[in-house]
C-alpha cells in the first residue's frame, strides 16, 4: 500500500506539538511500554526517527496500530517529549489520507463480543478512522 501525500517531520511536529529534539534517547518510554514486543518500532524510535525525518517508514509501520495509547511512555518521559503524541500524529497522518481508514463501520459486527466493552469499540473507531 502506498501513501499518496508526502508527510514531513514538520507536519508531525505541527500535529503533535511535540519537539522530538528534546529526546535524549534514555529509553525510559520503551522500558515502560506494556506492548513493546508487539511493535516493530518502539516509542524511543519514534522520537529518533521523526528527528531524522524518517516519516515514511513510521507511516508504514505496524506499531501505529499496536500502540495501546496508554500514555505510559509520555507519563514517564523525563524530558516531556510525549512519544504517545508522536505515534498518534503519525497514525493520523496515515488515516487522514484518502482510503486509509484502518477500521470501518462494516468491520464492527464481527468484532462484537460479550467480553469487549462497547466503549472500546467506540474508541477504536475514533482512533482508526476519519
Amino acid at each position: 500500500m502506498s501513501l499518496t501525500n508526502k508527510v514531513t517531520a514538520e507536519d508531525i511536529l505541527r500535529i503533535s506539538g511535540v519537539d522530538a529534539s528534546r529526546c535524549m534517547q534514555c529509553g525510559k518510554c520503551s522500558g515502560a511500554c506494556p506492548n513493546y514486543d508487539e511493535m516493530d518500532y518502539h516509542p524511543h524510535q519514534f522520537a529518533a526517527m521523526v528527528r531524522k525525518g524518517k516519516i515514511t517508514e513510521l507511516m508504514e509501520s505496524k506499531a501505529l496500530y499496536q500502540c495501546l495509547s496508554c500514555f505510559a511512555c509520555s507519563q514517564r518521559c523525563p524530558r516531556g517529549v510525549e512519544p504517545a503524541k508522536l505515534i498518534e500524529a503519525v497514525r493520523l497522518s496515515v488515516i487522514r489520507q484518502k482510503g486509509k481508514n484502518y477500521m470501518t463501520a462494516d468491520a464492527l459486527p464481527e468484532k462484537l463480543d460479550e467480553k469487549i466493552p462497547q466503549q472500546a469499540l467506540v474508541s477504536a473507531m475514533r482512533k482508526y478512522s476519519k
Partner: protein, 663 residues
C-alpha cells in the same frame, strides 16, 4: 574647563573592521574641551598606555576618554594608567565601541556614526566628572565557615593553617557531613571514614578552629571585612564541656522510636544519641521529640546514669554574636526525595533503596553491620538492579526531577556494583544507564574494570517500571543496544537519586544576599574566572553548595576558597567603592523611601542642623554609610525630591550623556 584627551582603540580588527577609527578620532577633535585625539591598534598594550601617559603630560589633560571595549574589561587598566600619570582614576571615561557597537553592527558607516555618538556622550559626561576618593574600612581577621562537611573542614583547615581564626557552624550535632556516611570512595575504593576522620580530628584540635555544632546562622549584617553574625546554638540538653562521650546514656535510654538520620533512617536509635562513633564533638544529644522526659516529665534515666552530670534538661538555645571578615558557604547537598518516583516502587517496597541508603547498608557501622541483606526480610539478595539518573537530566519544565546531571552517580554506581561483586560473587548485578559519564583521573578505567573484571551487566537504557511481585521486584526496562525490552526479577533495586542543595541553602542565600540559580545552587562571581567567589563581596563558595562535584573536586575547590579568604583576611583594610550615594541635605526631606529600597542597609537618618537661604533649623536627613553602599543607584531613582545622587554617576552626568547622544 576640562582639557580632555580622546583615545580610540582598534582592538586589532575587533573594532577597526566595522568602525572607521581614524574618522572617530578626527570627529572628536571638534568637541568642546577636547585638546587631543588619536587612535591606536591596541590601547591596552604597554605602548598604548605609554601613549596615554605621554599625552596627559604633554597636553596637561584633566581627563581622558578611551573608546574601546566594555569597561568591565579594561576600565581598571586605564584608571591605573591615568593614576600613574597623576590623574584621579575617576577622571577616566570609557566609551564602549566594541561590545555595544562594532560587534553588533555590520555596516561601517553606521558603526562609525554610532561610535562617534558614544564617544561624544563620554566627553559630555567627563565635563561634569569630579575627582573622587575611595574610603577604606578595616578587616576583621576571622572567617565563618557555614557547613562542617569535607568542604567546610578543608576550607577551615587551610584558612586556619595560614594563621587566621575560623569558626565552623554545623547544623547537625557533628561535623563530617555526607562524606562521613559513605562506605568507600571512588576510584581507589579506600574507606571514606579512614580518610575523613583524621581531618575531622585535625579540625577539632586546631588552635585556630572553633567548631560550633548543632547551630545555625540566625542573621547577618555588615559587609565584606566587617560582617556581624548571630548564630543560634540549639539546645542539645547535654553540657558539652562535661560530657565525655562515654555513651552510657545512649545505652540506658528506654526510648527506641527515633529514626537514625545518620543511617538514612533505616534503623532506630534512642532519644539520646551520639550520631556515630567518630563524631566530633564526641558529645551526646537529646532528641526532645522522642525523649520520654520531655514528653511525660518522667524517666530521666540518662541523668541518673551520667557519671559526669552532663545531662541538662533545662538547657536553652544560645545566641552567639561574632564579627567576621569573610564567610564561606559550604552547605553541601542532600539526595532528592525518591518517593516522587514511584514508577520505581520506592514507596511500595523497602527493598527499593536510594544509593545513600545502600551506602549505609554496605558500611560496617551501618544498620546491617555491613552485611548485604534485603531490608524487608534480611535475606541475602541474588539479583540487584541499579538504576541511574533517577531525577537527574529531566527537562526544565518537568513535574519532577532536576535538569542537571548530578555528576557523581555514574562513578558511585560503578563503585557499588564493584563492591557487591567483590564481596558477594554469587550476586548478579545489573546497571541501567543512559550514558556512563566518567571524566576524571582514573575514572573511566574504574568503570571499565566494573564491566570487564567484575562482570557487572551494564544495560544502556532506562527502567520504565518496577513492580512488587511477591518477594521479588519485577524490573522492566529498555536495552537499547540490543533492541529489546528486558525483564529482571530482582531482589533489590538501588536508585541513583539526583542530588540537590541542602534545604537550608535558600534562606541562607537570602540572608547573605548571595545570588543563587533556579536550582538553589549558589552562583559564582564568574563561571570560569571567579569560580569560588560569590558576586557578593566577602562571601566564598566551597563544595556542592555551588554545584554537583565529587570529593577530589570539593577538596580542590575548598582549598581555592580558602586561598581567596586568606587573600582577604591578610589585608588590614579594604578600599571601598568611591561611586557611592550621597544625599543633598538642602533638598532631602527625610521621607525614608531610600532607606526602604536600599538592599544593603546602607542608609540611616540623622537630625542635622540645616542653614540654607530658604530654611534654618533641624531636619531629618538621609545619611549613607559609604563603606556599605555598593553604588547600585536604587535610592537615586526612588528619591522623590531628587536629593539622592550617585557619585560618579550623578543625574547631571547622565543627562549630559543623553543630551550629547540626542544632539
Amino acid at each position: 574647563m576640562q582639557k580632555i584627551g580622546v583615545f580610540v582603540c582598534w582592538c586589532g580588527s575587533n573594532i577597526a573592521a566595522t568602525v572607521d577609527v581614524k574618522a572617530v578620532a578626527e570627529a572628536l577633535k571638534d568637541e568642546a574641551g577636547v585638546v587631543f585625539s588619536t587612535d591606536y591598534q591596541y590601547m591596552c598594550s604597554e605602548n598604548g598606555q605609554a601613549m596615554i601617559r605621554q599625552a596627559i603630560k604633554d597636553y596637561g589633560l584633566t581627563g581622558i576618554v578611551v573608546c574601546s571595549c566594555s569597561p568591565r574589561m579594561h576600565e581598571a587598566t586605564f584608571r591605573k594608567t591615568a593614576v600613574s600619570a597623576g590623574l584621579n582614576p575617576y577622571m577616566v571615561e570609557i566609551a564602549n565601541i566594541r561590545e555595544q557597537c562594532s560587534w553588533i553592527h555590520k555596516d561601517m558607516a553606521e558603526g562609525t556614526e554610532k561610535a562617534i555618538v558614544l564617544a561624544r556622550a563620554a566627553v559630555a559626561k567627563l565635563h561634569r566628572n569630579a575627582p573622587l576618593t575611595a574610603g577604606t574600612s578595616p578587616v576583621t581577621k576571622r572567617a565563618l565557615v557555614i557547613g562542617g562537611g569535607i568542604a567546610g573542614i578543608q576550607t577551615a583547615l587551610d584558612v586556619a593553617d595560614a594563621g587566621f581564626e575560623v569558626d565552623i557552624v554545623e547544623k547537625s550535632p557533628t561535623i563530617g557531613g555526607r562524606m562521613a556516611q559513605l562506605d568507600k570512595t571512588f576510584p581507589t575504593l579506600d574507606c571514606s571514614a579512614c580518610i575523613l576522620t583524621p581531618k575531622m580530628v585535625e579540625a577539632a584540635q586546631h588552635e585556630k578552629i572553633n567548631i560550633i555544632s548543632y547551630a545555625e546562622l540566625e542573621s547577618l549584617s555588615g559587609f565584606v571585612g566587617n560582617f556581624t553574625a548571630t548564630i543560634r546554638k540549639k539546645a542539645r540538653y547535654i553540657d558539652e564541656d562535661k560530657c565525655s562521650g562515654c555513651g552510657v546514656c545512649t545505652e540506658k535510654c528506654p526510648s527506641r522510636k527515633g529514626l537514625d538520620d545518620f543511617n538514612m533512617r533505616l534503623n532506630k536509635r534512642g532519644a539520646v544519641y551520639i550520631p556515630f562513633a567518630q563524631a566530633i564533638p564526641n558529645v551526646a544529644v537529646i532528641d526532645a521529640d522522642q525523649c520520654i522526659h520531655f514528653r511525660t516529665g518522667k524517666c530521666g534515666l540518662c541523668q541518673k546514669n551520667c557519671s559526669a552530670g552532663a545531662i541538662d534538661f533545662e538547657q536553652k538555645d544560645q545566641l552567639i554574636e561574632r564579627q567576621y571578615g569573610a564567610i564561606v558557604v559550604a552547605t553541601g547537598f542532600k539526595p532528592i526525595d525518591a518517593s516522587q518516583f514511584n514508577e520505581y516502587a520506592y514507596n511500595d517496597s523497602p527493598d527499593v533503596v536510594t544509593s545513600l541508603e545502600f551506602e549505609r547498608i554496605m558500611n560496617a557501622a551501618g544498620p546491617t553491620k555491613g552485611q548485604l541483606v534485603r531490608p524487608s526480610d534480611l535475606e541475602h539478595p541474588h539479583e540487584i538492579v541499579f538504576i541511574q539518573c533517577v531525577g537527574s537530566r529531566c527537562s526544565e519544565d518537568a513535574e519532577k526531577g532536576k535538569p542537571y546531571c548530578s555528576k557523581i552517580c555514574c562513578m558511585y554506581t560503578a563503585k557499588h556494583a564493584m563492591l557487591v561483586r567483590e564481596k558477594y560473587p554469587d550476586v548478579n548485578v545489573h546497571v541501567f544507564y543512559i550514558d556512563a559519564r566518567t571524566p576524571g583521573k582514573n575514572f573511566d578505567e574504574f568503570y571499565r574494570r566494573a564491566v570487564e573484571q567484575y562482570g557487572v551487566d551494564y544495560i544502556k537504557g532506562m527502567v520504565g517500571k518496577v513492580s512488587v511481585e511477591g518477594k521479588k521486584l519485577h524490573v522492566q526496562g529498555s536495552d537499547l543496544l540490543n533492541g529489546e525490552q528486558v525483564h529482571i526479577n530482582a531482589d533489590m533495586v538501588v536508585l541513583a537519586t539526583a542530588i540537590e542543595p541542602d534545604p537550608t541553602a535558600r534562606s541562607l542565600g537570602t540572608m547573605l544576599t548571595a545570588s543563587m540559580d533556579t536550582n538553589d545552587f549558589f552562583t559564582e562571581a564568574h563561571p570560569k574566572l571567579r569560580p569560588v567567589e560569590s558576586p557578593t563581596a566577602g562571601v566564598f563558595l566551597s563544595g556542592v553548595a555551588q554545584g554537583p562535584k565529587d570529593i577530589p573536586e570539593t577538596v580542590a575547590q575548598a582549598g581555592a576558597a580558602a586561598a581567596k579568604v586568606i587573600g582577604l583576611l591578610a589585608k588590614n583594610e579594604l578600599t571601598c567603592n568611591a561611586c557611592v550615594a550621597h544625599a543633598n541635605e538642602a533638598v532631602c526631606n527625610g521621607c525614608s523611601q531610600c532607606e526602604r529600597v536600599c538592599p544593603y542597609g546602607a542608609i540611616t537618618y540623622e537630625d542635622r542642623e540645616i542653614r540654607t537661604p530658604e530654611f534654618r533649623g533641624v531636619r531629618r536627613i538621609a545619611t549613607v554609610n559609604e563603606a556599605v553602599c555598593q553604588g547600585c543607584g536604587a535610592c537615586t531613582v526612588t528619591c522623590p525630591s531628587g536629593a539622592m545622587d550617585l557619585k560618579g554617576f550623578t543625574n547631571r552626568q547622565i543627562m549630559s550623556e543623553v543630551d550629547a547622544i540626542c544632539r
